[in-house]
């Protein structure tokens, strides 16, 4: 490639602002306004990449999204980005890129020797090759060689954001057609218009036009648009997906043109766009010609040569040859000549060309070869020579060699493919237009219109005569997909092996599966397949266009939902006090709750032992605020709850509380809790902590979808109240010290009763229930007063050595007592009879949710996993939840340990489990398998501590 010494006048680069950059460790210079590709070309670099499979040298092919050769690893370390298209990277000061898929570098790649193996590595070779002795014996090698570019190993230091936007009209593409559409839509001031373009600046193909009139038109249009308040302009933004209901997804490159720096602005922004109407002005992509060794560096698209010349002011060649099957390349050649640049020849496969073009070309001194094919190219590190053969009249064979041309660049144009990816994603139908050998939009499925070249309106006639591949010569080196090394012979091989569906051929050959997703290779591959199968192109059809149109950074999909913000978290009202007390927090659902409060240097096990002994022997305080608090009102509230719980709610008296189990329609236990009757038509449901939301939805679903006649209102007041659990033999003594109007004496306030009143001057609700097995008061005050109540109880409890205890200690205490914890001791199969509730169900006369399912055969299987206590034979033994209970012959699993703790009160491990047929096997010896070892145990009734259950009444 010829080095550009001085940029042409009129180029859209700022030669007063030189920028230095590095490529493959060498320093180079470009200018502001350059892309990395134009800067590499300006410095005379022909080879900028290597192909994926065969490591063949690759030079710049295009100027934008269609680029499949100039893929670079941009920057290094945490800022590194693989597979950056050099054509899409705006040059910035200090840019540092390296070539990919080569060692030591793209110029001298030792793996380039792979090219010699081409014959042995046809399409699908890996399906046929790595079978013996098996795939895994090859995997290590494949994994080392495979892959393109390297993902960064450390976290991305730059930020990403997601944003939604609504508009009446969304115009995609800001070339001439798009700008016209935006101008016309935004003329109505009440119309909200969004104009989006993927380039650094608006203008599309106008940016590459050498005509002053075009440039003036562009400036005028932009000035008008900038002045309008009802239009939003998004540059550097690629629309990647078009979904139902006119929803689009677009990626804006907000600050990555600044390079590896961390700024306040995000690096990229993912837009979700809600459009009233969409106008697609996405232009068209030029196709390569298919001929032997058409992948040599120095062979590029004719449109690319034009853009590098007129937009970037490069002088890339002294002896450029154009090779085409249509008129557009002629106009490119003439524009080049107009600019005073040399054009050696135009080679055209057609026998006849528009007379005026011929005349102009001859006048410009360009050699013309009609009815001629290029049958080979030569040159190391760049094209140096092309061989020409005349095409016979039948188009299917070649005549004798005409000549060979010495050249230093080959510009090709195999016709134009409208960029209909988004249109196709929107559900729009395509139709094949023979005259231009391309697919164009037909019937739209959504509110979308396609304008300009995307709609096949090319402005000037192309008079195209397709030549899908060069006849009469080997198809072995006629490249289709330059990146994945797919040749016309691969498509033919697939057809021979009876892959006739275009979708199958794509996967079998990998044609169009490369990073650019076949933007230049798909239609040519399709043409070759149609010709091989002897079927017309529209009958073969296209592969499906799926989002994303262009690769999208995963970081943009994540947005700010990373690390601490990965999921919403909930905090307790007294969170700051727990933090100050040194709590270790864990996530229980979305709640961040204290697991335990270790003293200095105290281990988790010792902290749990200390906290649980404090509750057993003195008093402890637990923040129980996430306890679900649903209030149910209405004349039908009692009837409703009687249908929702398996327990009899009809007999629950005002002021009384009752334990209840809730099932889903399948009879599976989904929640347990305490139901309190506050008034004849007013109930309070204490659901499991963290289950309040789900149970609220469960209740609403039944009310809104099934039982519309029940006059019931459900009110979720979970977070209105802070709830503290004061538990232990000294709990009452501590509570008595706080001023209030609720009589908490043993005589006045028994276990499983509920009182309302005031405490320390605030509204207060107290429930006497126990999940620890000790006397417990579950005290609720308005959440804002939660911290003050915590402090008041801690102060009052000081003389009794009150200990704050966390959720893990609570779990230890309830496991000692054999109290069930839904979700820990139940799974997605657990029915109430597995928990010992069969007799209670028998007694209930009324129907309830799930009852019918309980009567199914599966519910009566004697080998169901049933809730049980498990006692280890070795008093010093340890076991963890999840350990298997083995069948009697040890060959399989017959249940598992669901909860296990070392009990400091009992001096041994206590465990609960779900075990096959456990209820009939009380006392039976079993074997437990966990952490790689077996130990002996036996099944016992749950509740190892205080079996008589007297402590909680104290």
């Amino acid at each position: 490639m010829k080095r550009t010494v001085e940029r042409l006048s009129g180029a859209r680069v700022d030669v007063s602002r030189p920028l230095t950059f590095m490529f493959d460790g060498q320093p180079y210079r470009g200018f502001a306004g350059d892309s990395l590709a134009s800067a590499l070309l300006a410095n005379g670099l022909s080879v900028v990449g290597r192909s994926f499979k065969l490591h063949r040298p690759r030079g710049v092919l295009g100027t934008g999204k269609e680029e499949c050769n100039a893929l670079v690893q941009l920057e290094s370390g945490a800022f590194s980005e693989p597979n950056a298209r050099a054509t899409l990277v705006p040059l910035y000061k200090g840019l540092n890129a390296t070539g990919q898929n080569a060692w030591p570098n793209v110029q001298f790649d030792l793996l380039g020797a792979m090219g010699a193996l081409k014959r042995f590595l046809p399409a699908s070779f890996y399906y046929k090759t790595f079978m013996w002795p098996n795939w895994h014996s090859w995997e290590w090698l494949i994994r080392r060689v495979a892959g393109l570019g390297a993902a960064p190993l450390s976290a991305d230091p730059q930020g990403y954001i997601k944003q939604n936007i609504h508009a009446d009209v969304v115009v995609i593409g800001a070339g001439r057609s798009g700008l016209q559409a935006a101008l016309s839509a935004s003329a109505d001031e009440s119309c909200r218009v969004l104009l989006i373009d993927e380039q650094e600046e608006f203008g599309g193909a106008l940016l590459a036009s050498p005509l002053d009139a075009d440039r003036q038109w562009l400036d005028d249009a932009l000035a008008q648009l900038e002045a309008r308040a009802n239009i939003t302009l998004l540059r550097r933004t690629t629309v990647n997906g078009y979904y139902d209901n006119n929803v689009l997804a677009a990626l804006e490159r907000v600050s990555n043109h600044l390079g590896p720096v961390v700024v306040e602005r995000p690096r990229e922004r993912l837009w979700r766009i809600f459009a009233g109407r969409v106008v697609l002005a996405t232009g068209a992509l030029e196709r390569p010609m298919v001929f032997p060794n058409n992948d040599r560096p120095g062979i590029m698209l004719a449109s690319a040569l034009a853009e590098y010349t007129h937009r970037y002011g490069l002088t890339l060649a002294e002896r450029p040859v154009f090779y085409t099957n249509n008129d557009t390349a002629w106009r490119r050649a003439l524009a080049l000549a107009d600019a005073g640049l040399p054009v050696l020849a135009i080679v055209d496969t057609r026998t006849a060309v528009d007379g005026e073009l011929l005349q102009q070309a001859e006048a410009a001194g360009i050699d013309i070869y009609l009815g001629t094919a290029i049958t080979n190219t030569a040159g190391r590190g760049g094209v140096r020579k092309v061989t020409l053969h005349r095409i016979a009249a039948d188009g299917g064979s070649l005549g004798g060699a005409v000549t060979s041309l010495r050249c230093d660049l080959l510009a090709m144009s195999g016709g134009w493919t409208p960029t209909i990816h988004l249109y196709s994603q929107s559900g729009g139908r395509l139709q094949y237009r023979d005259s231009d050998a391309c697919f164009v939009p037909a019937d739209a499925h959504q509110s979308v219109s396609v304008v300009g070249r995307a709609n096949g309106d090319f402005g000037e006639p192309a008079n195209l005569q397709p030549q899908w591949l060069t006849p009469d010569v080997s198809s072995e080196k006629q490249w289709l997909d330059f990146q994945y090394d797919v040749t016309a012979s691969d498509i033919q091989l697939a057809a021979r092996e009876n892959f006739v569906s275009v979708e199958h051929v794509k996967r079998y050959t990998t044609n169009g599966m490369s990073v650019d997703q076949g933007k230049t290779s798909n239609i040519n591959g399709l043409g070759v397949l149609a010709q091989t199968l002897g079927r017309p192109v529209p009958e073969v059809g296209t592969t499906r266009f799926r989002p994303p149109y262009h690769p999208t950074t995963v970081g943009a999909f994540a947005g700010v939902e990373l690390g601490a913000l990965y999921a919403p978290y909930q905090r307790l009202p007294a969170h700051a006090l727990h933090e100050a007390a040194g709590a270790v927090f864990e996530d229980y659902g979305a709640w961040r709750r204290p697991a335990y409060y270790p003293g200095p240097g105290e281990s988790e096990e010792r902290a749990l032992a200390r906290e649980s002994l404090a509750v057993r022997q003195g008093v402890g305080l637990l923040d129980y605020s996430p306890l679900g608090k649903l209030e149910v009102h209405g004349p039908d509230a009692r009837e409703f709850l009687n249908r929702v719980y398996i327990n009899n709610i009809q007999t629950l008296k005002v002021g009384g509380a009752r334990y209840g189990l809730m099932l889903d329609e399948g009879g599976i236990v989904i929640d347990d809790g305490i139901v309190v009757c506050l008034a004849e038509d007013h109930f309070l449901l204490n659901t499991t902590s963290g289950g309040a939301q789900a149970i609220h939805q469960h209740l609403e679903e039944w009310l809104q979808c099934e039982w519309l006649d029940l006059e019931v209102i459900v009110n979720n007041l979970t977070s209105q109240w802070a709830t503290l659990m004061l538990s232990g033999p000294k709990a009452r003594d501590v509570l008595c010290k706080l001023s209030g109007d609720i009589d908490v004496s043993r005589e006045a306030f028994a276990h499983m009763q509920f009182r309302e009143g005031t405490l320390l001057g605030q509204p207060c609700r107290i429930l006497r229930a126990s999940f620890t097995g000790e006397v417990s008061f579950e005290i609720s005050v308005p959440a804002g007063h939660g911290p003050a109540l915590w402090q008041a109880l801690m102060t009052a409890g000081d003389e009794y050595d009150i200990a704050p205890f966390g959720l893990e200690s609570l779990m230890l205490l309830r496991t000692e007592k054999g109290y069930l914890h839904i979700g820990s001791d139940t799974d997605g199969n657990t029915m109430p009879q597995d928990l010992g509730w069969a007799p209670a169900i028998e007694k209930k006369p009324a129907d309830f949710i799930g009852r019918r399912s309980l009567a199914q055969a599966v519910g009566k299987d004697p080998d169901r996993f049933q809730f049980t206590g498990i006692e280890l034979m070795d008093p010093d033994g340890r076991v963890e939840s999840g350990a298997h209970v083995l069948t009697s012959d040890g060959s399989s699993t017959a249940g598992y340990v669901t909860s296990a703790f070392h009990s400091p009160s009992l001096g041994r491990t206590v465990a609960l489990g779900l075990v096959a047929g456990a209820h009939a096997r009380d006392g039976e010896k079993i074997t437990i398998f966990g952490q790689g070892s077996k130990q002996a145990a036996r099944l016992v009734k749950p509740g190892a501590y205080d079996e008589a259950g007297e402590a909680l009444n104290g």
């Binding site: 930020g159 954001i161 997601k162 944003q163 939604n164 936007i165 609504h166 909200r192 306040e264 602005r265 995000p266 979700r272 809600f274 947005g559 700010v560 939902e561 601490a564 913000l565 999921a567 919403p568 978290y569 909930q570 905090r571 307790l572 009202p573 969170h575 700051a576 709640w591 996430p626 209030e631 009102h633 209405g634 004349p635 009310l703 809104q704 519309l708 006059e711 019931v712 209102i713 009110n715 007041l717 979970t718 977070s719 209105q720 109240w721 802070a722 320390l760 001057g761 605030q762 005050v781 308005p782 959440a783 804002g784 007063h785 939660g786 911290p787 003050a788 109540l789 008041a792």
Partner: protein, 190 residues
């Protein structure tokens, strides 16, 4: 515990950028009004008995000192000066006879109320929700309950207000503040 001992959710934590700000509003007492709406005429009867201009879906209204926000079918949030809500809730409940089922409950402590302001406020909101926040679509008086930043929230632009109000479960207050800080990092001086 006197009322002064009541702790706000964010305890003074706030976000102040040049073009976006978040501050906790503790001046409102909140009442949830629920009327059984699956029975024809019940909601109208409740409105009549309470003597309140209950706003229609996605709207808010004002009645002297009280702002009324629609929050769900048959459900409204009534905001009055903090401290008065308990009395008002009782007064309203006493106005209801047994002919129409409705419930009032004080929910001040269950909510965090955030004031969102600054030149970029609509942009930042558009990062947490798919709603259209353009002034022509989300003007004064609008009130919606929606998914915002992955959580349920009620968003309103009150009549005569200077910015948006966001109501969410109090347990999510710190999450929201962290989320806003991350999502508005670019809302610095232009």
């Amino acid at each position: 515990m006197d009322n002064a001992a009541r702790e706000s959710v964010l305890a003074g934590h706030e976000l102040a950028r040049e073009r976006f700000s978040v501050r906790e509003n503790t001046s409102l007492g909140l009442i949830r009004l629920q009327a059984f709406h699956r029975k024809a005429g019940n909601v109208d009867a409740v409105a009549r008995q309470l003597g309140l201009p209950l706003p229609r879906p996605c709207q808010s209204a004002r009645d002297e000192d009280m702002q009324l926000f629609w929050s769900a079918p048959g459900e409204w949030i009534l905001a009055s000066p903090a401290g008065s809500e308990r009395e008002i809730a009782q007064l309203l409940q006493s106005r209801l006879d047994n002919s129409a089922l409705a419930v009032t409950s004080v929910v001040t402590d269950s909510r965090v109320t955030l004031e969102l302001g600054g030149a970029a406020v609509r942009d930042v909101l558009a990062r947490g929700s798919t709603l259209d926040f353009h002034p022509s679509q989300f003007g004064a008086g609008r009130c919606v309950t929606t998914r915002f930043a992955g959580i349920p929230a009620m968003l309103t632009y009150p009549e005569g207000g200077e910015g948006f109000l966001l109501f969410a479960d109090r347990s999510l207050g710190h999450y929201l503040l962290d989320w806003f800080a991350a999502a508005s990092a670019d809302c610095v001086a232009e």
